[in-house]
Symmetry: C2
Subunit: 308 residues, 2 copies
C-alpha cells in the first residue's frame, strides 16, 4: 500500500468559497450557517483531480483535511483536521475540536500552525509551556501533529515559497532547543516539505547542537517524522540520507504548492513517487517503511485501513 500523508483539498466546489467569503465578511460577529454543497459536487471536484492523479501515480490512500471527502471515499482519503488557532488564544482551546475530529469523525491527526499570527511570529515558540495543553491532548489521543504554516499576512513572505519553508526550519529549531520531547516522550511530530532546510543545513544544526549542548542532531532528528514533499532527485536522496528511512513518510502535497509541469521532464513536479522509486540504495523493506509502515507508526489510527 502507498499512503500519501500530505494532501490539500484545493479543488473545492464554488459553494465553499461562498461560505468562506461570508465568514470573513462577518468577522467579529460570526453567524452559524450551513455550507451548500452536494455530494455530487464533491465527487466531481475530486474525480478529475486528486483521485485521477492518485490512480495514475499508484497511490492508494491520502491523508486529507475534509470530513465529507473522507466519508464519500473512505478507502482513498483519511481526515486530518485543522485547529481553531488564533493569535493570543491558548492552544488548549483547540483541544476540544481536536478531540471531536478524532473521536466523532475518525480523523487520524491534526495540523498545528506554530505561527497563528501569519508571518509576524508574535506568539511563544513551540518549546514554551503555552503549547503544553495541546501536546497533552495529542499524546492522550495518540495522534500526531503536522507542523504546517497557514497563509502569511506579512508582505515580507511569499506564502508557499518562503513562509511554509521558513516555518518548517523555525519549528525544527524551536523544538531542538526545547525540552518538549523530554516532557512529552510519546508526542509525534511530522515536518512537511522535507524539513524546509534541515537536510541541506544538517551540518549547521549538528554544530549548533554541540555548541549549545542540546541533544545531538543525529539523535534529535529521529524524534520527528519528515514528509517527502521535495521535488527533485538530489533533494530526495539527501533527505532520506540525513533523516534515515525510519523517519521518512511519503507525501506529495497534491494539489498544493507545486501544481505545474516540469518542462524538462514533462511530468508534474508533485509526481514525486518516482524519485523514491529511482533511489537504488533503498531496499524493498525501506520502501515499505517510507510508503506505508512509517505512516502507520506516526498515525496509529490508520489501523482502520486494511493492510496491503
Amino acid at each position: 500500500m502507498v499512503i500519501d500523508a500530505h494532501g490539500h483539498y484545493t479543488t473545492v466546489p464554488p459553494g465553499l468559497r461562498v461560505f468562506r467569503a461570508l465568514q470573513i465578511s462577518q468577522m467579529g460577529r460570526p453567524v452559524k450557517s450551513a455550507i451548500n454543497i452536494s455530494d455530487d459536487e464533491i465527487r466531481a471536484s475530486l474525480e478529475k483531480g486528486q483521485i485521477r492523479l492518485l490512480d495514475e501515480r499508484g497511490i492508494d490512500v491520502m491523508l486529507e483535511l475534509i470530513y465529507r471527502v473522507c466519508k464519500l471515499y473512505p478507502s482513498r482519503f483519511v481526515g486530518v483536521c485543522s485547529l481553531p488557532q488564533s493569535p493570543g488564544v491558548s492552544p488548549g482551546e483547540s483541544a476540544q475540536e481536536l478531540e471531536r475530529c478524532v473521536k466523532e469523525f475518525g480523523f487520524v491527526g491534526c495540523n498545528l500552525n506554530p505561527d497563528p499570527s501569519g508571518g509576524y511570529w508574535t506568539g511563544p515558540p513551540l518549546g514554551d509551556e503555552w503549547w503544553y495543553p495541546l501536546y497533552d491532548t495529542l499524546q492522550a489521543l495518540d495522534v500526531p501533529a503536522m507542523i504546517h504554516a497557514s497563509a502569511t499576512c506579512n508582505p515580507a513572505f511569499h506564502t508557499t515559497g518562503s513562509h511554509y519553508l521558513n516555518t518548517d526550519a523555525t519549528a525544527f529549531l524551536q523544538l531542538m532547543e526545547s525540552r518538549v520531547f523530554r516532557d512529552f516522550p510519546k508526542l509525534r511530530i511530522v515536518m512537511p516539505h522535507g524539513g524546509g532546510n534541515v537536510p541541506y543545513q544538517a551540518a549547521r544544526y549538528r554544530a549548533l547542537a554541540i555548541m549549545n549542548k542540546w541533544e545531538p542532531f543525529d539523535d534529535f532528528v529521529k524524534r520527528i517524522y519528515f514528509d517527502t514533499t521535495v521535488y527533485n532527485q538530489d533533494a530526495m536522496g539527501l533527505l532520506i540520507k540525513v533523516v534515515g528511512v525510519d523517519n521518512i513518510i511519503f507525501a506529495s502535497e497534491m494539489l498544493g504548492g507545486v501544481n505545474t509541469t516540469d518542462p524538462v521532464t514533462g511530468k508534474s513536479f508533485d509526481d514525486n513517487r518516482r524519485f523514491i522509486d529511482a533511489i537504488d540504495w533503498l531496499t524493498d523493506e525501506d520502501r515499505q517503511k517510507i510508503f506505508e509502515g512509517n505512516a502507520r507508526k506516526a498515525y496509529p489510527r490508520l489501523a482502520v485501513l486494511a493492510r496491503g
Copy 2:
C-alpha cells in the same frame, strides 16, 4: 589565490565590548566617544584566531568588517562595511556611510540587512522601491551587497540557526518576484550560507517561477552569487550543482555560526575548503573561479590585491 568572502571579527578585544555596552546604555541620546583599543590588542585577537586558521587552511585573503584590522593586515583582510540601518529609516540614509567606507577606507562591499527590525519583518520587501536609493548607490560605486541578517529580537527565531537561514531564503524569493534586476541590471548580490534552503528546494522555486510567470529559476539564480558556507560534502555538491560554478564564491563564515569541532571528522565544521577540494567533477578552472575569480567579479575593488 584563495579568497574567503565571509568572515566575522568575533574575537574582538574587550575594549570594543565596553564601547558597545556604553552605546546601548545611551540609546536615544548618543554621545560620540573613542574606542580604546591598541593595535597590539587587535593583533593578539587575530593571530591566535583567524590568521592562524587562514594559514592552516591555505586561505590567503578574507573579506572582513573592520577597518583597523584591514589596515594592520592589508594582504590578509579586506573590509566590507555594515550600514546604519534602522526600522522605518529609508535605506537611502545608509548611502553616505557606504560611500565613506568605499571611497575613504577602501572597502569593497557592504552587508545589507533585509530585516532591520530583527525578526519582526516590519519593513518593505527588497523588491519595494523603498530600497532603490541604496541600490542606486551600490551600482554607482560598483560594489556588491551581501544580504545577511543581524541578531533577532524575536524569541521565535534562533539567530544563527533560524533567522540567518530564513532571511537568506526570504530575500531570495523577494528578489525573485520583484523587478529589481530589471531596474538595476548591474546590481550584484551575494547570498550567504549557501542560500539558506535554495539549492535543496530548487524544484519548488522552479515550479513557483512557472506558476507565477517569474523569470525561470535557472536563469534567475545566475543573477546572484552564493557563498559556500555550508559544512558537509553532500550540501556543498548540491549547492555547486544547482547554482553553477560561475556563481559560487568560497567563504567559511569564520569565526561565526559553526565554531566547533565535528566529533566524526575531528575537524572544525567551518574548515570547509576540503569539501570543495574533494569534489572530483570540478576542473582546475572551476576551482579557480570558486576560490578567486568569482570573488573578483562580484567585488571588482579587490583589484587592489595582487593576482596569484
